[in-house]
């Protein structure tokens, strides 16, 4: 195609369209960062920067890092560590439980497999809101209210994950390989560990990130399950910055920046696997 005479201008056009779309996607971040530098007096003045006499008609001097220093004073350290713990525990356990389940449903032959697959996948259509009240009662009966396990255990078995891993195994693990390993005398758990897991490695990376993100941003269920304030994650601490009578939006935005940064970094590090992982999982529906 590179020999095509039109290709240069059409490439330019493609980039132009992509850049416009990228700007639309990125504007909110720019706004977020600028907003986090504004004082509460300036928050509602000017779309981006507060208007003033400075360069480009902006009151540069009124931008401040105060919101960030205030945030440090508020002591979100413990909440941040809680968040890291909940998100990583949920990610690791959910990923391995779903990987094992997805593999079994995709490759093992046993009675009732089809029915079980249907039930698990069918549960995707249950709106989670429907289960809030019965789940709370259940956690109470199990003595898991205000316990870390009460928050974590229900997140360890997402049907969505089973769905993705079942796809990934069907797509990237050939039956012949498993048969060959069996003939070589490899144990069933050995096959899973040494042959299957490496083959679905991209999906593992992707699903880890998805569950990590989901737990990191979740702010309703921790408040429902956990009662002790010191156990609350960062998302809850941030949501609580919204006052009832008045909200210090600058502070709220600074907190949002702080909470997004770690996951953004994690995503940057993992993005290659993440994208190839979802890619491998989705193929061959």
């Amino acid at each position: 195609m590179s020999s095509h005479p039109r290709s240069r201008s059409s490439r330019m056009l493609t980039h132009l369209v992509l850049i416009v779309l990228a700007v639309i996607v990125l504007v909110p971040y720019a706004w977020l960062i600028v907003a986090s530098l504004k004082t509460k007096e300036d928050f509602f003045s000017g779309m981006f920067f507060p208007p003033g006499d400075g360069f480009l008609g902006v009151a540069w001097s009124s931008l401040t890092l105060d919101n960030y220093t205030n945030l440090i004073e508020k002591g979100f350290g413990r909440a941040a560590i809680n968040s890291v713990f909940y998100a990583s525990a949920s990610a690791i356990f959910a990923t391995f439980i779903c990987a094992a389940t997805g593999y079994a449903l995709a490759k093992s032959k046993f009675r009732g497999r089809t029915l079980m697959t249907l039930v698990v996948l069918g549960s995707l259509i249950v709106p989670p809101t429907l289960l809030i009240a019965p789940s709370y009662e259940l956690l109470f009966d199990l003595g898991l209210l205000d316990s870390v396990w009460g928050l974590l255990l229900p997140t360890f078995a997402p049907a969505f994950g089973v769905f993705l891993f079942r796809q990934a195994v069907q797509q990237s693990v050939p039956d012949e390989l498993i048969e060959a390993a069996r003939i070589d005398g490899c144990s069933e758990s050995g096959i899973f560990m040494v042959i299957v897991l490496p083959l679905i490695r991209p999906m593992i990376g992707a699903f880890l990130l998805i569950t990590f993100l989901g737990m990191w941003n979740n702010f309703i269920s921790p408040q429902i399950v956990l009662q002790t304030a010191s156990k609350q994650p960062l998302s809850v601490a941030i949501a609580q910055l919204r006052g009832v009578y008045k909200t210090d939006y600058g502070l709220l935005m600074a907190a949002t920046v702080v909470s997004v940064t770690p996951v953004a970094v994690l995503f940057l590090v993992l993005q290659k696997q993440f994208i190839s992982g979802l890619t491998s999982g989705a193929v061959k529906g």
């Binding site: 509460k40 007096e41 928050f43 509602f44 413990r78 560590i81 809680n82 890291v84 713990f85 998100a87 990583s88 525990a89 990610a91 690791i92 809030i132 009240a133 709370y136 009662e137 109470f140 205000d146 144990s187 758990s189 050995g190 560990m193 040494v194 897991l197 490496p198 490695r201 991209p202 593992i204 990376g205 880890l208 990130l209 990590f212 702010f219 309703i220 408040q223 429902i224 009662q227 002790t228 304030a229 010191s230 156990k231 809850v236 949501a239 609580q240 910055l241 006052g243 009832v244 009578y245 008045k246 210090d248 994690l266 590090v269 993992l270 696997q273 993440f274």
Partner: protein
């Protein structure tokens, strides 16, 4: 099976960097968290949804906690733990707690918009304690501003301690009215109010819109519609909780309110109450006057500092000469769940917090809210001039109106009803713009028709409740 140990180790090599990073995070954070002690607390639990309230209560609670256990008298006392939760979290915990019979807290602050479900079932099943007798025995009942008890009462029994009064005044841009030589305090009725401000509606800047609208209000603002209807004694429910949405008085009031919004030259304008655009419009003087409950003052002070020193307050103009000059909007109560075993200490703590002169003073200084406890009204803090409102003694003005605020229903269907009345108002406006015209009689007829619809919608909703009998009035 000699490779049983080696296999997992071998497979580790194949794990991606992401797994290692997240595993590392898990180990580090769990090591840290294992080191901290989160022993399950046996403390007395108090749930609040407002960060501002939490901040105000903290010193008093620290003081109470320091006192407990210091002598024989207080040895059996528990420490009090104050927990801040979002309204959604309180809602879902309370729902599960009351309906499933699970423990909640010993004290819960509940906002008016979410209290309804507490009163859904038969009175004997209400999740909060009936505190009427206790209030009377301890002489508190008469100390509380009377009408402030109504949203928390069913059949004359009180189920929560009121946190506030939230009377409403008219806040107006005194800089603009005074420059135009208008004395707005002469506006004793809404009719006079619009008359007095008519001169300011001219279009001097030639942008095709009046330079200033007299009032900020619109059919889409359900809270303000409810506020105005309450001011004119429009009641959506009768004393027994039956819907009276399509009453003649309600139709009359709603028709008048909507008439401000219709026609080619409406008298009111739609300024958002909490948004950037709305704040800018306030600075620009797009509207002269606002319906201002006490809590609104602190929001303006924070977000619209540019109108500092330009506003003044006055009692609302009445619908009819001699009519009510105030209204009410919003509110919070403190409830005591029946499931709690610590009622005695919870009650004492609550009384300490709600009748504390220091906290009441801080409530006013921090968020401009006046206390419902009448004995605290003598506090000189309420007489302090407020520079934001041109040195008016704002607190005193609100307090003078407090006994006059309208009674409110505790019907769980009130919020729904208010939304239906708002929809009625929106539909009437649509009808008027699309050929319905501005004739008063046609407007009233249309209003009746729309309110009938709203009434039927609420009756339908209430008919689902197996615990109550709906009788059409």
């Amino acid at each position: 099976m000699k490779d049983a140990f080696m296999l997992p180790l071998l497979s580790l090599r194949h794990l991606s960097i992401g797994v290692w990073i997240i595993l590392g995070l898990l180990i580090l954070s769990s090591v840290y968290l294992l080191g901290v002690d989160d022993a399950k607390s046996e403390d007395l639990q108090m749930w609040v949804f407002s960060p501002e309230h939490k901040q105000m209560y903290e010193p008093k609670i620290a003081e109470l906690n320091a006192r407990s256990g210091s002598d024989a008298d207080t040895e059996s006392r528990k420490d009090i733990e104050l927990t801040l939760l979002s309204i959604a979290a309180i809602q879902s915990r309370m729902t599960s707690g009351f309906f499933g019979g699970l423990p909640t807290a010993d004290m819960i602050e509940v906002e008016r918009s979410t209290v309804g479900k507490v009163f859904m079932g038969p009175p004997e099943s209400i999740g909060f304690r009936d505190i009427t007798d206790r209030l009377k025995d301890e002489g508190l009942y008469d100390q509380i501003n009377g009408p402030s008890l109504s949203p928390w009462s069913v059949n004359g029994r009180v189920y929560g301690l009121p946190h506030d009064v939230h009377p409403v005044m008219l806040a107006y841009r005194a800089d603009l009215t005074e420059a135009a030589g208008i004395d707005l305090t002469q506006a004793t009725t809404w009719e006079k109010f619009f008359e007095l401000l008519a001169p300011l509606m001219s279009d001097e800047d030639g942008n095709g819109r009046p330079d200033h609208y007299p009032l900020s209000m619109w059919v889409t603002q359900q809270d303000n519609i409810e506020l105005l209807m309450l001011q004119g004694d429009g009641q959506l429910f009768d004393a027994d909780g039956r819907p009276t949405i399509n009453s003649d008085r309600n139709a009359e009031l709603l028709a008048e309110i909507v008439s401000w919004c219709i026609g080619d030259e409406p008298l009111v304008t739609d300024i958002d109450e909490f948004s950037a655009a709305g704040h800018q419009a306030r600075v620009d003087g797009e509207a002269i006057a606002y319906l201002c409950p006490d809590w609104m003052c602190s929001i303006w002070k924070m977000h619209v500092p540019l109108i500092d020193g330009k506003m003044k307050l006055m009692p609302l103009p009445a619908f009819e000469e001699g009519g009510r000059r105030t209204s009410v909007r919003g509110g919070t109560m403190l409830g005591f769940p029946k499931e709690s075993d610590e009622y005695e200490q919870a009650w004492e703590t609550a009384v300490q917090l709600y009748t504390s002169p220091e906290i009441a003073r801080e409530l006013y200084q921090m968020v401009d809210i006046v206390s419902p406890i009448r004995s605290l009204w003598d506090d000189p803090v309420y007489d302090e001039p407020d520079p934001f409102f041109m040195d008016q003694a704002k607190g005193r003005m609100f307090i003078e109106l407090a006994p006059d605020i309208p009674l409110r229903t505790s019907s769980p269907y009130n919020y729904s009803a208010v939304l239906n009345v708002r929809d009625a108002a929106v539909n009437i406006l649509d009808w008027s713009t699309n050929g319905g015209g501005i004739d008063d009689e046609a407007l009233l007829a249309k209003t009746k028709e729309e309110l009938d619809k709203a009434q039927r919608a609420i009756e339908r909703q209430m008919s689902r409740n197996a615990f109550i009998e709906v009788v059409a009035p």
